[in-house]
Every structure is written in C-alpha cells, then in structure tokens.
C-alpha cells in the first residue's frame, strides 16, 4: 500500500517536473556524492564553520569528481534523522554527520541505507557502513596548558566551558595537568555558560574570570569573544577551533585549530578506490586533525621550546598527556605512575583532576 502510494505520487511528480521544466536533470559523469549534516549554521565561526572549511577543501581537491551538499543548523532531535535519511534516499555515497547528538539518528538511517557510507563525528556507535571519527583536541590543550603554566603570574587560569560533557572535561583536565607539570601552583577556574555559542555570554564569563584573578583565558565555546576580552584587558588568551589571531593580535598566545580537510579528503579517496571500511579514527597532531596556530612572539624562547617539546613528544608517541600519576580533585590517585588513561577512560571522562576548582554536576 505504502509502496503503491509512493510510486503513484512519484509519477505525478515526474509529470509536474516536466511541466515546470528543469527539475529532471540527467548527469553525464556520475560524480561521487558527499553529504554533510551540521548542527550549527556555517556562519558560527566555530565548530560547523570548520567542518564546512573541510567540505570546501574537498571540492577544491576533487573538483568535478565529487558533488557535495550540506544542511546546516539541524536540531539534534527528530529532525536529524529525516535530514540524514534524505541524503540516503537521494543516493549519496558518503555522509558525514558532525555532532554527537546525531549518533542514534545516523545509526538508524545507516541500517536503512546499506549502500550509503556514513561517518559520525564524536560518538561511539558503529555499524558496517557507519564509521566514527573525532580529533584529540586534548593534545592541543596539553600544549596550551604548558604555555599557560609558564606564562601565568597569578597562577589562576580561567576556563570557559560550554556543557559539562566528557570532551570538554577532558580538555579542562589536559590543560590543568600540563600547566601544573611546569607550575604546581596553578589553579584552573571553570565557568559554564550552558551554550555553544553566545558571544555576549562568553564575554561576560571571560570578564568574570579576569575579575577573579585569572590572567590567562581559555575556552571551549565557539566564538572569539573571550579572545577580544583578553586583548582589551591585557591578559593572555588562546584561540579555539579556528585561528583567532586577528581577534587578539597582541594577547593571543596561539590557537588550537580543528582541521578536517585532510581526513575528509582521505575518506572520499577511500570510497573512490573502493577501500572504504567503517573505522574508528581518533587523530591528533600526528594525523593533522589538530593543528597549532603561530606562537605569539611575546612567548619567551624557553617557553616556546617547552611547548614545542610537548607537541613533538605527543606526535612521536613519547609523551602521553594523561600519563600517571594523576590525582583527582579529592586527592585520590586515579592513575598510578607508569600507567596512563586508556581511550575508553578519556571518552567517558567525568571527573576533574587535582587543581581544577568547582564541582562537576553528577
């Protein structure tokens, strides 16, 4: 019954399309169709913006051989499944869904469209045609934590958080561990703004942290508002997601940059070569998924060297940002000397290390 209805309507539609003209397009060479589903608008200058930079890099790299499309600002509720399914229905070859909240919808749709390959960012569920990917942003945070530990005079680092999810908690812990390694007196103050981007509120949070003694601001929210405040008030700041140097020409120490271009290109190439498999990718500096912006010349040479040592150590696998010993806030030893947190521990992190102020909601 449902099928019949669908076919009839499709026939009517084809006639209408003929009448209206131009709707039925024939494609000469079949380009590979790649779809993207974004949680924010591409103009958010943060998370979705960077994914779209990756999409544009795909187009530049493959030219006519691919066709890309995206839907932006897709709510993480009932809408997500429909949008993802539309890509499946229209015969897309590869679809990237770029927000954690798209995990279950992507899984549902992947089961319905076995021919389409799906890749979901920042989740943990996979299927034969559903791979997952994420970036080890905490590697970048270990570098900026090192810089912050050296540069702070007040020994207070301010941290603006979006929502208390494992990824953000992991970042806070990475900064704290790295900073305290070079300066055991450092305390990290956290303020949650309960939003991924609300520039005004991020500004207010940054001002508050500075008023409470922080001379270094770092954030896990999308906009460069905190960098602007740091520039204005003469404290140090770090960029997040994209290179935010022009928002804080004097006071930006460096930026952690999300770079999805290389990953997207390699995955599309894999589909073209018939070599795509559902994989779990969690790449950092080494894979080129996390990059560091230029270092501010105001950073003393020895600090620059310390920062770059951390980066090369992580790249070379000789340095693990979450190597023991690690104590939690209550002084309890969570990781023994010589051990390190596993990826699974990191993925589900819901506790603060020693040196972070405030409590995580349980």
């Amino acid at each position: 019954m449902g099928m019949f209805k669908g076919t009839r309507l499709a026939a009517v539609a084809a006639v209408l399309a003929g009448l209206l003209g131009g709707a039925a397009t024939a494609q000469a060479a079949d380009p590979l169709k790649v779809g993207f589903v974004y949680v924010g608008p591409v103009g958010d200058l943060g998370w979705s913006y960077q994914h779209d930079v990756g999409r544009k890099a795909l187009e530049a790299h493959f030219g006519d051989k691919i066709k890309t499309a995206y839907v932006e600002d897709v709510a993480e509720g009932a809408d997500a499944e429909r949008v993802i399914a539309q890509f499946g229905q229209q015969g897309y070859d590869l679809v990237f869904t770029t927000s954690f909240g798209f995990m279950n919808p992507t899984l549902k749709v992947a089961k319905k469209f076995p021919k389409t390959k799906f890749e979901h960012a920042t989740g943990y569920k996979t299927a034969d045609n559903l791979g997952i990917y994420d970036a080890r942003f905490h590697e970048g945070r270990a570098v900026i934590g090192t810089i912050a530990g050296h540069m702070t005079k007040t020994n207070v680092i301010g941290y603006i958080g979006s929502f208390p999810i494992p990824e953000v908690v992991r970042g806070i812990n990475a900064v704290t561990l790295a900073a305290r390694k070079v300066n055991p007196n450092v305390q990290v103050k956290v303020i949650w703004v309960n939003s991924w981007y609300d520039p005004g509120k991020e500004r207010e949070a940054a001002e508050t942290l500075i008023a409470q003694g922080a001379d270094i601001i770092t954030q896990h929210t999308d906009s460069p508002a905190a960098v602007q405040v740091a520039e204005e008030k003469g404290v140090w700041a770090f960029g997040q997601a994209s290179d935010m140097a022009k928002f804080g020409p004097k006071r930006l120490l460096t930026s952690i940059i999300d770079d999805w271009s290389g990953y997207y290109i390699s995955r599309v190439q894999a589909v073209m070569d018939g070599k795509w498999k559902a994989e779990t990718t969690w790449g950092g500096f080494k894979a080129g998924m996390v990059k560091l912006g230029a270092l501010n010349p105001a950073i003393p040479a020895d600090v620059q060297k310390a920062a770059m040592d951390v980066k090369t150590g992580i790249e070379g696998g000789t340095l693990d940002p979450f190597a023991g010993p690690i104590k939690d806030q209550d002084g309890k030893e969570r990781v023994k000397a010589g051990a390190a947190l596993t990826d699974k521990d990191l993925l589900s992190m819901d506790w603060y290390v020693e040196g972070v102020q405030g409590k995580l909601p349980k």
């Binding site: 608008p41 520039p199 005004g200 509120k201």
Partner: protein, 311 residues
C-alpha cells in the same frame, strides 16, 4: 571597605551596565511601540538585522558612525515592513512579529555570509583622565562606553516624552483608544507607524551594540535570544522607561553574579545557577504586580488590536 573591594564592586557594576545595554535599548524601543498600541514580537529579528548591518557598514566604510546609522536604518526598514503589514494590511500583530523574526534571522545570515571572521576596531570607552581613576565611581560614572550613556539618556528622554510632552500624550491616547484619537482628528496609523519605526531603530542599535561594541564580530544568531528577554522586560517594566532600564540591570546583573558564583567554585550545578536570572525576574514581577490597578493604568488598552479608521 578596602579600595580593592570597591574596585571589584565597580567592575561588577560596570559589567552589569554593559550587559544590560542591548536589553535596555531593545526594551525601550519596544516600549514606545507598545505604548502606541502595537505589539511587535519581531525584536530578535530586528536586532539581528541591525547587528549585521552595523558590522557590514563599519567593515565597508571604516566608520563606526556609519555602522550605527546603518543599524538604525536596517531596524527601521524591518519595522516599516511590519508597520505596513499590521497597520495598513491589518495583519495580526503577534503572528506578523514572529514572522518578522524568522525573516530577520534568515536575512541577517544571508547578508552576513561574507563578514564571518572579519574584525572591526572596538568602540573605545570614554576616558576623562583623572576622573576615571577615582575608586568606585571613576569607572562607573566616567569610564563607560558611549552607548551606556546613550542608553541612560534615551531612558530619560522617553520618560520625559510620555510624562511631560504633548506629543507623548498623543501617542498614549492612540494606544489607549485609537478610535477616540481618530475621531479627534489624529492620524492614528501614522503615529503608530512612527512609534513602530522608533522601536525598529532602537532594536537596530541594540543589535549594533553587540556586533560593534560588546563583541565586535559577526556570527549568525549572535543575539542569542536577547530580543525575547527585551520583550519580557517591557511587560516587567509595566511600560515605564526607568523600570525597563532597572529590569535590564537586574537581568544583566544576576547573569553576571551567577557567573561570579560559578567562578568561586560553589557546589551547585551550573544549570541551576543559569536559571537564576529568569527566576529572579519572575519573583520580582510577582512582587511588583500584586497591586494590579497600577499595571492596568500603564498597560496600553488597545495593545495588539487591529485598528481601521472606518471600523
């Protein structure tokens, strides 16, 4: 009190007054619109259009004055559309205002496409040398950015307009009883259009404050719901300008205080603290609303109702 504590308090108050500027500007504009009997729920849309116009004009011309002008014009253009629909085509005001917001979100995103990631020089704070260095009152009274003073001045002017000026009385009459005002010979629709346009200009300025002064950048949807708060503040203020400003300070102040409480490491979930500005506004509203007769005196009687001169 030590000097440090005084300075910290002053910083808190300065931050509060700045956070309140976009809320207060938009609320004051909407207040004037509503006083004339028109309810425009498109504040968020007009603010966004103002924000993007201000940013685009400043980037293109290099002049912040042009930016502010462009924001007012953009807000007014949106308001004109709303005014034409509601006053001359007699559309439902609530629905038209909401449609205006949808339209404005789309339009601002469209215009702003090329401006994401660009920067402008932020507006400098007023500096009166030694005066601005006085503890507590220095920064508070003599060291704010010009828009803070403008907001204060505007509040005073609107208060004076409705309380003392003959023209203000006419606007109020139009809002109270448009048919009576029409019978006396006042051009009801033109007066209302004027009030709607004034509201649009204020909302445009409120948006410009965000994109030029507070966080000088353009990102889509950067007003982040402030237009809705401004609408609520007009009700909160029971249509009185000073109370609208106080409401904006209250809301902005509690927002900032809850951030300070978080920074001190208080063991309360951040979500609970983030609720405080909303809850506090409700509590204060309940406290001031108990005397209902005074609200009825201030609420424009014809608000939201369609007016046609021939009935």
């Amino acid at each position: 009190m030590s000097i440090e504590l005084l300075d910290a308090t002053a910083l808190l108050l300065v931050a509060m007054m700045r956070a309140a500027v976009p809320l207060a500007l938009a609320a004051l504009g909407e207040l004037v619109t509503e006083k004339s009997g028109v309810l425009n729920l498109g504040v968020e849309g007009m603010m966004l259009t103002g924000a993007v116009a201000a940013f685009a004009a400043t980037v293109s011309t290099g002049s912040m004055t042009f930016g502010l002008l462009a924001a007012m014009l953009a807000g007014m253009a949106m308001a004109l559309l709303f005014g034409f629909l509601t006053l001359y085509l007699l559309t439902n005001q609530v629905a038209t205002g909401l449609a205006l917001t949808i339209f404005g979100i789309g339009l601002s995103a469209f215009v702003g496409q090329g401006f994401v990631g660009q920067t402008v020089e932020p507006m400098a704070a007023v500096s009166l040398g030694a005066l601005s260095q006085i503890p507590l009152i220095g920064k508070l009274v003599f060291g704010q950015d010009p828009m803070v003073y403008l907001t204060l001045a505007l509040t005073g002017v609107i208060w004076w307009f409705f309380a003392r000026a003959r023209a203000g009385l006419v606007v109020r009459a139009v809002g109270e009883s448009p048919h009576a005002a029409h019978a006396i010979g006042y051009p009801v629709r033109l007066i209302r259009l004027g009030a709607v346009l004034f509201g649009g200009a204020c909302c445009g300025l409120a948006g410009a404050y965000l994109s030029l002064v507070y966080t000088p950048m353009w990102v889509e949807g950067m007003t982040a719901g402030r237009g809705w708060i401004a609408l609520a503040l007009v009700v909160f203020a029971t249509w009185r300008p000073w109370r609208a400003l106080l409401g904006a300070w209250l809301f902005g102040g509690i927002t900032i205080i809850q951030l300070h409480v978080q920074g001190m490491g208080v063991d309360l979930p951040s979500q609970v603290l983030s609720m405080l500005p909303y809850l506090a506004t409700i509590v204060v509203l309940v406290l001031i609303s108990r005397d209902s007769t005074r609200i009825r005196l201030n609420a424009p009687a014809s608000i939201g109702k369609v007016f046609h001169p021939e009935g």
